[in-house]
Structures are given as C-alpha cells and as structure tokens.
C-alpha cells in the first residue's frame, strides 16, 4: 500500500531561506509519527508542506496519494491541521466555528454536538464567542474542529502547548483513539514523555532535513522494528559534509 505521506528530498523556501533543505520522510497509513528536533529544525515546515500550505520548491511530496507539487489544494479536505494559529473566528461562538468548519469541509453538522460535549463545551460554554474563551479553551476548540471535520491525516504542531492537565489527557486519549481508528497522525512536540507514549516512531529533524537521531547514547530504548523502517526513509546516507559550513561546491 502506498504510504500516507511521502516526502523525497523536499525543499521548501521562505523567501530565500530554505525552511526544508531536502527532507525525506515516509509515513504509513495509520501510523503516528512524532517529529522531534531543535527549534528551527523544520518541524512546522514539514507539517505545512504536508498540509499544502507551503510550496515544494524541488523534490517530491505526496500526501494521501495526491501529488502536492502538482496540486496543493487536492488534499485539504482530508487533512486536519492544528497550528500555532487557531484559525478560529474570535467573534463567532465555539459552536458556530465548528459549524462553519464542518460545512466548509462538506461535512454534516449533526455530528458536532457530541464533539462539543467530548471537548467540554456543553451548554452555555458553546455559545461564548471564541475571543472570550481562555487560551486553553481556544486550544480545545481547535481540537474539536479537527475532530469534527473527520480528517484522515492529522497534522499537529505542538498540540500539547497551551493545554491544561485535563486537556493534555484528553489529547492523548484522542490520539490513541485516532490511531485505533486508523488515522494517520504526524505531530511535532517538545513534550517528550507524552509524545513517546503515543507515537509509533520518532523522526528527527535538523537543519531542514530528516536526520539520524543525534547522540545515540541518549536514545537507549530505540524501538526496534519501526525505527528501522524510519532509517530506511532517511534521505540516503547523510551527505558527508564534514568540512566547514562555508564550503561550497
């Protein structure tokens, strides 16, 4: 079966800055993958490329069987993205936001009530404008949108950030449930313990590429089979650039 996500030597730019410098990655259908790496390693960029928000300058990118280089728009209805931005309308209530998001995605609005309840927006709380909700509540509302849209591929950027303890538990529950339901999840997180508990495997990013895990001494509990699969997808042998960074071909 074709992988849900495939990047091959993908380069993505912000102006003249290469956010991704040839990232290669494969994620199987139903896999939960944790993107790890220092700030600025390209985690958010990988997610944005997969969501079709960031153009692939060179290389290949396929998501859910669709070629993102040819058409970035094709996958949007099948993916759910939780970014740094909430993408919620502050003036609308949580329920209205959900309703709009679902209808925009050609979904059925009857399914949103259970979702609201699941995320603790029962009753009055659902009719408060998002702008007046707390940061944690907004974060939950974003998650609710994600669930209500029923996406096949979830792209989560620091999903734990801004959530309280209950919210985090809810999120972990959600991810476990998503995996059980056969959804594919790619997420970036600094919450290593929580992430480790959920993820099938970890992909390390640095310098806009997928790399071997740094300092193998630290990762003692290398999960055997899936990690090997991960190694294979790593962009060939890490190009031997051992000279100083100023080296130019």
């Amino acid at each position: 079966m074709a992988p849900a996500v495939r990047l091959h030597e993908a380069v993505a730019l912000a102006g003249r800055f290469p956010l991704l410098a040839g990232a290669s990655l494969e994620v199987g259908e139903g896999e939960v993958v944790h993107l790890r790496g220092p700030n600025g390693a390209g985690k958010t960029s990988v997610l944005k490329v997969l969501a079709g928000l960031l153009a692939v300058h060179s290389g290949e990118a396929t998501v859910l069987g669709r070629d993102l280089v040819a058409d970035r728009r094709a996958v949007r209805r099948e993916i759910g993205m939780l970014g740094h931005q909430s993408f919620l309308y502050e003036e609308l209530t949580v329920e209205e936001n959900l309703r709009f998001a679902v209808r925009a995605n050609r979904g059925v609005v009857t399914g949103i009530r259970p979702v609201l309840e699941q995320f603790g927006f029962a009753g009055r709380l659902a009719s408060i404008p998002v702008g007046r909700c707390s940061a944690g509540q907004q974060r939950r509302a974003s998650l609710a949108v994600l669930v209500a849209r029923g996406a096949r591929l979830w792209l989560l950027d620091e999903p734990h950030a801004g959530l309280d303890q209950d919210g985090r538990d809810l999120l972990d529950e959600l991810l476990t449930g998503a995996r059980a339901a056969g959804r594919t999840v790619v997420f970036a997180s600094h919450e290593l313990e929580r992430a480790e508990a959920i993820a099938d495997r970890v992909v390390h990013l640095a310098g806009g590429r997928v790399v071997e895990p740094p300092e193998p001494t630290g990762a003692s509990d290398s999960p055997a089979p899936s990690a090997q699969a991960a190694r294979q997808t790593i962009s060939g042998p890490a190009v031997p650039v051992t000279e100083d960074p100023a080296h130019v071909a």
Partner: protein, 250 residues
C-alpha cells in the same frame, strides 16, 4: 559558487551592440533632423519639433505594455510557462513605465504653450496617466519578495487583471471627456497628413529609433533580471548547504 576572477569582461552579444549602436544613431539623426533640418510648422511653429519625440514615446509605452501582457499570458499558459516570460513581462513593463512617464512629460511640455496649461483632461492624456499609476502598482507588486514561481504567477495575474482595465478606462474617459466641450486639440495623427515631406520622414525615423531604444533597454533590463535570478539560485545553493550543515552540526 567557486569564485574565479572577480572582474569579468563584459558579456555582451554582438547583436545587442549593433542594436544599441543603430538605436543611438537613429536617435541622434532624429534629433538632428527634428531640431535643425525640418522647417517650423505653419501653425505650431517650432513646437512641432516636440512631435518628433512625443508620439514615439506614447507608441513605445503601449507597445511595451502589450509585450508585458503577452508575456504574462504566455507565462500563465501551462504549455508555454517558462521563467523567461516572467522576466520579459517585468522588463517590458518597467521600460513601459519609463516611456509612459516621458509621454506625459513631453506631452505636458508641448501642452503648456499650445493649450496654455501643463495639463488638460484630454482622454488620451488621462488614460495614459491612469496607465502610469496602474503599472506602477504592478511594478510595486513585482518587487514584493517571494519564491520565484509564486511571485511570477502572482505578477502575471495582476498584469492581466490590470490590462483588462485598460479598454474600460479608455472608453469611459473618452466618453466622459466628450460630454464636456473639448478644447480644440491639435490631434497629432490628423495633423500628420499636412506635414511637409521631411517632417514625415523625421517622425517615422523617430518611431523606428525609439522602438529600437525600447528593445535595447528591455534586453538589458531582461539580462539584469536574469543575473539577479541567477544570483538567487546560487544564493539558494549556499543557503541549502548552510542549512544542511546546521543539521549535521547539531
């Protein structure tokens, strides 16, 4: 980007040199004929001499916008999409804006003694002025940085959206003006039929020469754009190396 010699000889194709030379000679001849050889006009006196340069300016401006529009179309059309059409559109539009500015200035200089005002709301003049700002906007948009194809496609679409406006602007301005009592404008095109033989040839030479000047300028603007794009590509390679090294170091 292995750096060979810092200073390189000029890389100018012979054709471009010949073109430049021909254009220069043509312009010099036009100026000479226009200022010293042709007789003053019986109605306009010496002011007629401005007509050897003003209509060619306007013609080149419209030609340049036409080329820019065509190049934008070719860029948008998937089968003909190529980077050089984007550069061509940008180069032509920029030269077009220069010539539009000169059209306005030379027209204004001619208008002051002829109509007694630096500016009259003549349809052609008004349309030209609007075109000037319209394409200044286009150039401003082009200057917004971004990934090459993103910028190119955005610019090409903006060029077409702007171009659709041109006939509407012209038509409405024309009609707007015709409702008022138009000042007796000496229309250069109808006036041409009365002109003395040498005047006609001078005007014709002006058209040809300034068209060549346009081609020369555009070619150089194009080459400059290509160099800048090359520089971006090279810069990208360096940036990619640096970015990767960042990963290897960590």
């Amino acid at each position: 980007m292995s750096t060979p010699a810092r200073v390189l000889p000029q890389d100018r194709p012979a054709a471009l040199r010949v073109l430049g030379a021909t254009a220069l000679v043509g312009v010099v001849a036009t100026v000479w004929l226009g200022l010293f050889v042709t007789p003053p006009d019986q109605f306009m006196g010496n002011l007629v001499r401005l007509l050897y340069i003003h209509p060619p300016m306007a013609w080149v401006a419209f030609l340049a916008y036409g080329v820019a529009t065509l190049a934008s179309l070719l860029y948008l059309w998937p089968r003909t999409r190529a980077e050089h059409f984007d550069r061509l559109a940008g180069a032509s539009a920029e030269v077009g804006v220069v010539f539009t500015g000169l059209t306005l200035v030379s027209g204004s200089i001619w208008g002051r003694p002829t109509w007694g005002a630096w500016w009259v709301w003549d349809p052609l003049l008004t349309t030209t002025a609007l075109l000037f700002v319209l394409y200044l906007g286009y150039l401003a948009l082009r200057r917004v940085p971004g990934e090459f194809h993103v910028r190119a496609r955005r610019s090409a679409m903006a060029a077409l959206i702007a171009f659709v406006d041109v006939p509407i602007v012209y038509f409405s301005v024309e009609w707007w003006r015709s409702l008022h009592q138009a000042p007796t404008v000496l229309n250069p095109t109808t006036h041409k039929t009365y002109v003395h033989g040498s005047m006609f040839w001078t005007l014709l030479l002006g058209f040809v020469s300034f068209t060549l000047v346009y081609i020369w300028l555009m070619a150089h603007r194009y080459r400059l754009a290509r160099l800048q794009d090359l520089e971006d590509v090279e810069g990208l390679e360096v940036a990619l190396e640096e970015r990767r090294a960042e990963g290897d170091a960590g």
